[in-house]
């Protein structure tokens, strides 16, 4: 029997791995990979709640997941376009070196 806690533990582990990836990569595309992993873990939690938690409208969790996937797709398109545009300007998408606004 799968239980809600099992799903939540898997989601929490996936979230912490995604957090580590997002914070430890220097390349902007690598950071985006970490963000996508975190969004995936959130979606997994939403699906788990929709499946296991008592609610008058149980399908809502899955609808939220569809919306999160939509927003993630839009965000990925804009972020990758930004990465390509920054690369054209600076020949680098190393976020440690994109510090023009810093001082």
């Amino acid at each position: 029997m799968i239980d809600l806690e099992h799903v939540l533990v898997v989601g929490a582990l996936l979230f912490s791995i995604g957090l580590y990836v997002a914070l430890s990569r220097r390349n902007a595309v690598g950071i985006l990979m970490g963000i996508e992993l975190m969004l995936n873990s959130v979606n997994l939690n939403l699906i788990g709640f929709a499946r296991f938690v008592d609610s008058p409208r149980p399908i809502d969790g899955q609808v939220f997941t569809v919306f999160v996937i939509t927003v993630a797709a839009a965000e990925a398109a804009v972020a990758l376009a930004l990465a390509v545009a920054v690369y054209r300007l600076r020949q680098s998408i190393d976020v440690d070196r994109l510090d023009t606004l810093k001082w």
């Binding site: 995936n40 899955q62 839009a74 020949q91």
Partner: protein, 167 residues
């Protein structure tokens, strides 16, 4: 579906998802990282199927494993001279500690909370129910989402368009 088979499939898919996510964190070349990321997305789609969310699983494969991964591959290939080797950051140990702390807190809260659970599997085929929910309670977010997609698409095209010659 047979209950034991579902449980075994759930844990195997969880192992696949977490293992390939770990490989995304460990592997140095970004192209390899994207390939492991695709594997992780497919694993999450399988987890959705074991949680009786068939429509969302299909959307996950189409959008994440199909579209977003290809976008990432294109972005990596279009930025050829940027460093891809994930050069070590000086503060990797604090980051790992922070990520572990966040994961531990979420696991603790998930295990301590008394969830109002139901045991029975309420969903048959979910595509019809999701479509009805998108029309009845969620029609405004649905329209806003389509507007957001148009704006993001136009914005991405304008961002990567080559600069025009003077006015």
């Amino acid at each position: 579906m047979d209950d034991t088979a579902v449980v075994v499939a759930f844990w195997l898919l969880a192992l696949l998802t977490l293992g390939s996510a770990l490989m995304v964190a460990v592997v140095r070349d970004l192209v390899h990282a994207v390939l492991f990321l695709i594997l992780s997305f497919v694993g999450v789609a399988g987890l959705y199927i074991t949680l009786s969310a068939d429509f969302v699983a299909v959307v996950q494969v189409l959008v994440y494993a199909g579209a977003i991964s290809v976008l990432m591959l294109f972005a990596i290939l279009l930025t050829p001279r940027s460093a891809r080797d994930n050069a070590p950051v000086p503060y990797a140990a604090p980051i790992a500690a922070l990520a572990g702390l966040v994961g531990a807190v979420v696991v603790f809260v998930a295990l301590k909370t008394d969830w109002a659970k139901v045991e029975d599997d309420r969903f048959g085929s979910t595509a019809e129910a999701i479509g009805a929910a998108l029309i009845d309670p969620f029609v405004l977010p649905f329209e806003v989402a389509s507007l957001l997609l148009v704006v993001a698409m136009v914005g991405a095209i304008i961002l990567v368009r080559p600069p025009e010659e003077g006015p």
